[in-house]
């Protein structure tokens, strides 16, 4: 017989409650079932898509940046491998609390560096959290090994060899080649434009060209990054199969950037660097008949390799506070009184206006009187009777005072402007200044009391308000040399594709032609030849044996002098005269124009002309050596494997490179301050 609970008085009621409880349980499970149906059947596609999204990570394959070579194929800028450390915030668990302190310990970071990285990681929001951030560059091998062996303690930290820009010429071409540094948030927004975050052309931490051709040719040099999808786990670690290879999907190979071939000749550049006589200044070497730059010196300079790494703020401050302004591109970004080098413009204006001719003469008694004022010639005792030729030869100021007194300022300004003064030359390095070519209108506006005749006298000898950049002066002298063709100076000869084929060839860009008759040219050039080649010429001591050089010295006053003439050593550095020398050669069939500016260097004849002579001599030596004036590299450009990733891809130095030259080129930084007295 069965005795059940249910048979007791309370039992029946307990059974009812059991049924209710059972129903409650079933109801609960039904709620779960309905919810499962909602997720797994109704919203299946949505969640399935999300699960697919989850498991792939877009990995960027950096495109190698284009290489920069000189006109003969010698590598000036390429890449070297740098071991960099990245943090991907999204995958970096307990990043600020644990991972960054560990990393700081391994890499012996200062607090400042650690705070900076913390701020970077904290500052990443939204999709940016999935972009790797560069937190350390150029790891030493030992540090790299330490990190590698502790990688399990560093979630979200990646170590990758990344190609870094290698400026082989060091400080030598820093201002024209430029450097790179990290892209800013604003640039990122601007350059990536409205594109989605999926595969942006630029990513946080990328480097971008900052100056010189790195900046001007950013889009040419920069390749197109490739992408590949990797299967990753929840911590962002790339999964490998049993054999250790990575699952890949949808690989898009990176396209390397195009290479640039400059018109620079590294050998001539080296000579120019070595020949530069002073503390600060510039040398510009142009092809007289094309405007291509063969060499360009800026002193003092800086090391673009340093600027492209993580230059410290103190270092940067030191560079920008340096009174010698090493960051300024003097050849184009600073203008100076041209001094007597300007006299070619005055003479040409006189010839073109018909005010003077070959045999016009003037008498120099040590100066010129206009009204109540006396304009001094640099030779107190006077030059006696001078012609155009001898006035140029001896740089007689009186002749040009007289000439400008007859001319007025406007004909001079007209010729000066026609030769490119007062406007930027258009070199492919941004930030040029236009200089000043004063005329009546300019003085009416800028000078208290307006234009007076005396201003023309100052201008005639390259003092007063007339200001030129060394680059402009080189264009002026080239135009006089070649008979009136004013060329836009260019530094890039051609753009080559990664496989070495030519993508774009730059041809000389004629800005304008100034009609200079052969007679006029001959009068000016004869004067310039006499400067160098005849006894009594201001640059007679630098005459060359094999080639006839035509040139003009200039000694530009910086400070208004008192009655007593001081020796260079007696003056404060920043008050000393600028020494100029502008020349071309051969005088009758010019090929090369050289302008040397030795800031506060003293006299043009002694402190600038020797450098120009050395450069001209080297130029012709090299031409003889090379046999022809070629425009093709001697060695075919090495063609990198298009798809090979990694740093090894960018071109190796061509076998031609002379190690000595290279070493000397990179050993030229001259950030030494002058002794300021």
């Amino acid at each position: 017989m069965k005795l059940k609970l249910g048979q007791k008085s309370e039992g029946k009621e307990l059974r009812v409650r059991l049924v209710v409880l059972g129903a409650f349980f079933v109801l609960g499970l039904l709620v779960l079932a309905v919810n499962l149906y909602r997720l797994m059947v109704v919203r299946y596609e949505e969640f399935f898509a999300l699960s697919i999204d989850n498991q792939f990570k877009d990995v960027r394959l950096r495109a190698p940046r284009g290489v920069v070579r000189d006109r003969r194929g010698e590598v000036l800028v390429d890449a070297r491998p740098s071991l960099d450390v990245f943090i991907t915030p999204a995958f970096c668990q307990r990043c600020v609390q644990e991972v960054i302190p560990r990393l700081a310990g391994y890499l012996r970071w200062e607090d400042e560096q650690r705070a900076r990285v913390e701020a970077m990681v904290k500052g990443a929001h939204g999709p940016q959290r999935y972009q790797p951030l560069v937190v350390a560059v150029d790891l030493k091998r030992d540090d790299f090994d330490v990190l590698l062996s502790h990688q399990h303690l560093l979630p979200g930290v990646d170590l990758d060899p990344v190609p870094h820009r290698n400026y082989r010429a060091g400080a030598a071409l820093a201002h024209v080649v430029g450097y790179m540094n990290e892209i800013t948030q604003d640039e990122l927004t601007r350059l990536n434009g409205a594109r989605s975050y999926d595969r942006p052309p630029y990513a946080m931490g990328d480097y971008i060209g900052r100056r010189g051709i790195e900046r001007t040719y950013e889009s040419t040099l920069r390749g197109t990054d490739g992408w590949v999808k990797h299967v990753v786990n929840a911590r962002g670690e790339v999964m490998r199969d049993g054999k250790g290879s990575v699952h890949e999907r949808d690989r898009v190979a990176p396209r390397p950037g195009n290479n640039l071939v400059l018109s620079i000749d590294a050998r001539l550049q080296l000579t120019a660097e070595q020949a530069f006589p002073g503390t600060a200044g510039a040398i510009v070497v142009l092809e007289s008949t094309t405007g291509f730059v063969r060499a360009i010196v800026n002193r003092p300079s800086f090391d673009p390799n340093e600027m492209t790494g993580r230059v410290s703020s103190q270092r940067l401050a030191a560079l920008s506070k340096d009174p010698l302004e090493p960051l300024v591109f003097r050849a184009g970004q600073n203008h100076y009184s041209p001094g007597s080098t300007f006299k070619v413009v005055t003479l040409l204006a006189g010839l073109q206006s018909g005010v003077v001719h070959e045999h016009s003469q003037a008498s120099c008694g040590g100066g010129y009187r206009l009204g109540s004022r006396f304009w001094r010639c640099h030779k107190e005792s006077g030059h006696g009777l001078v012609s155009a030729r001898s006035a140029m030869q001896m740089s007689c100021d009186t002749y040009f005072y007289r000439l400008s007194d007859m001319l007025g300022i406007d004909p001079i300004a007209k010729v000066g402007k026609a030769l490119g003064l007062g406007a930027i030359t258009g070199l492919d390095v941004v930030g040029e200044v236009p200089g000043i070519m004063p005329d009546t209108a300019y003085h009416q506006k800028a000078t208290p009391g307006g234009y007076t005749k005396g201003l023309a006298l100052n201008t005639a000898i390259g003092q007063g308000d007339v200001n030129v950049t060394p680059l402009q002066l080189a264009v002026v002298y080239s135009a006089i040399a070649n008979g009136g063709d004013v060329y836009q100076p260019q530094i890039v000869r051609r753009v080559e594709r990664p496989d070495g084929t030519v993508k774009q060839e730059f041809t000389p860009k004629l800005v304008r032609h100034l009609d200079i008759t052969p007679e006029q040219r001959s009068i000016v050039v004869e004067g310039l030849k006499a400067v160098v080649n005849e006894p009594g010429g201001t640059a007679f001591r630098v005459r060359l044996k094999d080639v006839v050089m035509a040139g003009k010295t200039g000694t530009a006053q910086v400070a208004r002098l008192g009655d007593k003439r001081l020796k260079k050593e007696e003056m404060d550095y920043f008050e000393r005269d600028h020494a100029w020398f502008a020349a071309f050669a051969p005088a009758d069939a010019p090929r090369v124009t050289v302008v040397v500016l030795n800031e506060h260097g003293g006299h043009g004849g002694s402190d600038a002309a020797p450098a120009a002579a050395a450069i001209v001599q080297k130029f012709f030596e090299l031409e003889r050596l090379d046999g022809v004036a070629f425009d093709r590299p001697l060695v075919p450009a090495p063609s990198p494997a298009v798809t090979a990733p990694g740093p090894a891809l960018v071109a190796q130095p061509s076998p031609e490179v002379d190690a000595g030259v290279e070493a000397a080129l990179s050993a030229t930084p001259s950030l030494v301050r002058p002794e300021v007295q």
Binding site: V41, S51, A234, R235
Partner: protein, 389 residues
């Protein structure tokens, strides 16, 4: 008499219950093999965890047999020592316990880690059953406030101890189990009203602290007193889009895993969410998302059916029990299993906030397995001895 006692219990073994329990545990091991495979692997690796779980299952079945073998009236007499022993273990945990994730949850005994809270649940169920058995007054059918004070204390003492470990999940499960047992005991109408009011206030607080749109800073009633991770869990439950890559990450990844399983699943060992470790605690708390992703909706329904059969079979044991103690033990064990299943599957599907609750018989873990098995052993025991007198 002796002969009848020896023979008849076998006829009353709840075979449906045993079969569903073993079946679920076997499915659990099958699923655990997938959940514990090396990240990224799609090949069959019989992991250490799967082997352990098999061992736990065998031990668990042994525990069922052992618990069933002892006459439950003996157990009934030992309830107070059992309950007190569990309390002592919980207190001792504070001094000798192993800290993990900020909570003291385990004793380390050789190779095993024992979670006293799991066994406390059984102790509490037994103690409540004993109270309602002993306090039965046929002339006073309903329980008023006063009569509910002792069982409330019985439940509250261990619950508070567990809560302060801190193990919010287990404490919640104990609370729900105790409330179920209390309501099963038939409380009086005022108790119902009071409970209803408390529930309304609770929902109101949640609404005010988490849902209501109000200016910053929010005027909160309880929220500011919660620990940050607890607050984040409730936030991610009530507002899952608030911080997709932060605290809602686990909730979202789990939903993706479940949802992407679809009708038939991605196949055993083929789940990508599982294989690539997008799921947190995927072999314990989030085991169901592994099952759902790889096995699909239909097999999930099958699993829910298994649990339903298990629970109903447990209630049948209660239904057939000879006296209040057995019935209340059966109800308590059933409630314990139900609430764990409900909360666990509810949380992995985004229906409920995430608390560290294992899915009975599916999740990896010896203590969890053993406590469920001991509970089931009690059910078998009650069922076998329903005709003893």
């Amino acid at each position: 008499m002796q002969v009848r006692v020896e023979r008849r219990p076998w006829a009353n073994v709840p075979y449906a219950l045993l079969v569903t329990v073993v079946l679920t545990a076997v499915v659990g091991i099958y699923n655990l093999i997938a959940a514990s495979r090396p990240a990224g692997s799609e090949s069959l690796v019989f992991s250490g965890q799967a082997k352990n779980q098999l061992l736990f299952l065998v031990v668990g079945l042994g525990a069922i047999a052992a618990v069933a073998a002892v006459d439950y009236r003996l157990i009934q007499r030992l309830v107070i020592p059992i309950y007190l022993l569990n309390l002592v273990a919980l207190i001792a945990l504070r001094y000798f316990g192993h800290k993990a994730k900020g909570a003291e949850s385990w004793f380390v005994l050789g190779p095993f880690r024992v979670q006293p809270a799991e066994f406390m649940k059984i102790g509490m169920v037994l103690m409540l059953a004993k109270y309602f058995h002993d306090d039965h007054r046929p002339n006073q059918a309903t329980y008023g406030f006063l009569r509910l004070v002792p069982p409330a204390v019985i439940a509250l003492v261990p619950t508070v101890l567990v809560l302060t470990q801190p193990d919010l999940g287990t404490a919640l499960m104990m609370t729900f189990t105790a409330i179920t047992v209390l309501f099963f005991a038939r409380p009086s109408a005022p108790v119902w009203v009071a409970f209803g009011m408390v529930a309304i206030v609770g929902v109101g607080v949640l609404w005010n602290d988490y849902v209501r749109v109000q200016g910053e800073p929010r005027v909160t009633l309880v929220r500011h007193k919660l620990k940050r991770h607890q607050d984040a869990r409730i936030t991610s439950w009530l507002d899952p889009n608030s911080d997709l890559k932060g605290s809602s990450y686990h909730a979202m990844q789990s939903k993706i895993a479940v949802g992407s399983g679809g009708m038939t699943g991605k196949g055993w060992l083929q789940g990508t969410q599982t294989g690539l470790r997008y799921l947190p605690e995927q072999h314990t708390d989030f085991i169901f998302s592994v099952f759902a992703e790889e096995q699909g909706f239909l097999k999930c329904l099958g699993l829910l059916t298994l649990y339903a059969v298990m629970l109903l079979a447990a209630l049948v044991v209660a239904y057939n029990a000879k006296e209040r103690f057995g019935a209340f033990v059966a109800v308590g064990v059933a409630a314990m299993v139900f609430w764990q299943v409900f909360e666990n599957i509810g949380m992995v599907t985004g229906l409920l906030p995430i608390t560290g609750i294992t899915l009975p018989l599916m999740s990896y873990g010896g203590s969890s397995m053993l406590s469920v098995m001991i509970g089931l052993g009690l059910l078998v025991n009650v069922s076998m001895r329903r005709h003893v007198f």
